[in-house]
Symmetry: C2
Subunit: 234 residues, 2 copies
């Protein structure tokens, strides 16, 4: 079985991505990044899910809190408004028009760079990234053109790449709505009760229900016509 | 003055790069990465040099030791042979043919990704990277085509990029020999006695004189016709 690195946060999207990687016949190695995110509870979810699926989980420590610049890595407040792209007519939307303060500068570039190094170390050529450019927050590093540019870079950047082993970045969720992602995951047996999406959970891990990430998740279950197993704060 | 992020290790190349950034009229912010390198002593040199030049130094912690795969981030021995490209006839050389075990998988991709996030956070558009593709060890991520691919990626990856603020990666040493780099640095007042290059220093910080990095440095001073101020182990 071919190894694949799955960038894994313990959230709804990356857990679905892990299930897809496995269904496609890969032997997944999960890579989570402890980047000093305020919702560190997601790493606990990542551990629980990886353990339950018997997939090895590696956690790399890379402190983006030392960099700041985002509501997820500093004391900037997490906004409770709806920033999702769906509210705006897509034909009028220019990406970047309303990127929320939860945007972490260059986060997916950093994550993919770490995954690339990890893949090369482990002898893997495939990297799965659960980004989604339909029900998303307008982050520039979630778009297909970003992924293509990274794939081109990866060929030039590595020993393996120039030795003729191209890296493939798989983004199986890129064109799916949140509801479609949930349907796909349920077909593959994902237990969404174990996943965590909230940017501003309570100390005991209950989701706030109001941040951007909770809103996208809630709406996804609603549109999918599936009961939402998330535990929200009262 | 325009801010520039200088990826900074306290070595000969990045110190010269810092001097060039300043001479070109930029206000440099030094960024060093504590990646669990075995020669952590280079971070001490980075601190001393940045302090002496009055340039702010930021150290980000990103543990590539957790990833392994290199003699610089694991207990693999640092080789004491000469791996430099100069030994081979350039016209016959295929890059990647003899990349030494000191290659750190995806290191410059990771460093540039971190610098990109840092630049965006600090409102800088310029990043200086002291890579060199003449007297070097054949690392794939030191070549101009790698840098161009990263620049293309940076435009797509960031909020600043899609808002019309392109990032520029400056590699002023790319086409210079080590001797030319030393000449350039001396003209700009660089004190090379403060810089550290060795991959396998003694506990008190003396250079081994035999690793790839020491060999390239020594030969540089020799070819430049300049006294080598490095303190080597007896």
């Amino acid at each position: 079985m071919r190894k694949a690195i799955v960038l894994f946060s313990g959230g709804l999207d990356s857990t679905t991505c892990l299930a897809i990687a496995r269904a496609e016949g890969f032997s997944p190695l999960c890579l989570a990044v402890d980047y000093g995110q305020r919702h560190a509870i997601e790493l606990k979810a990542a551990e629980r899910i990886a353990t339950s699926l018997g997939a090895p989980l590696h956690i790399l420590h890379c402190s983006l809190r030392e960099m700041g610049g985002s509501a997820l890595t500093s004391e900037l407040p997490v906004p409770m408004e709806d920033f999702s792209m769906e509210k705006l007519p897509m034909e009028k939307l220019t990406v970047g028009e309303r990127i929320p303060p939860t945007y972490v500068p260059a986060r997916n570039t950093i994550f993919l760079a770490l995954a690339l190094g990890f893949a090369e170390t482990k002898g893997a050529q495939d990297i799965f990234l659960g980004i989604n450019a339909v029900d998303y927050s307008g982050y520039p590093d979630c778009r297909p053109e970003f992924v293509s540019a990274f794939e081109a870079l990866a060929r030039l950047a590595t020993k393996a790449g120039i030795e003729g082993t191209p890296f493939h970045i798989h983004t199986p969720l890129a064109g799916l709505s949140k509801a479609q992602i949930i349907h796909k995951g349920l077909l593959l047996g994902v237990d969404y009760a174990m996943t965590h999406s909230c940017y501003a959970p309570s100390l005991c891990g209950l989701a706030c229900g109001r941040c951007e990430s909770c809103r996208l998740r809630k709406r996804g279950f609603l549109q999918a016509g599936v009961a939402d197993p998330t535990k929200y704060q009262p």
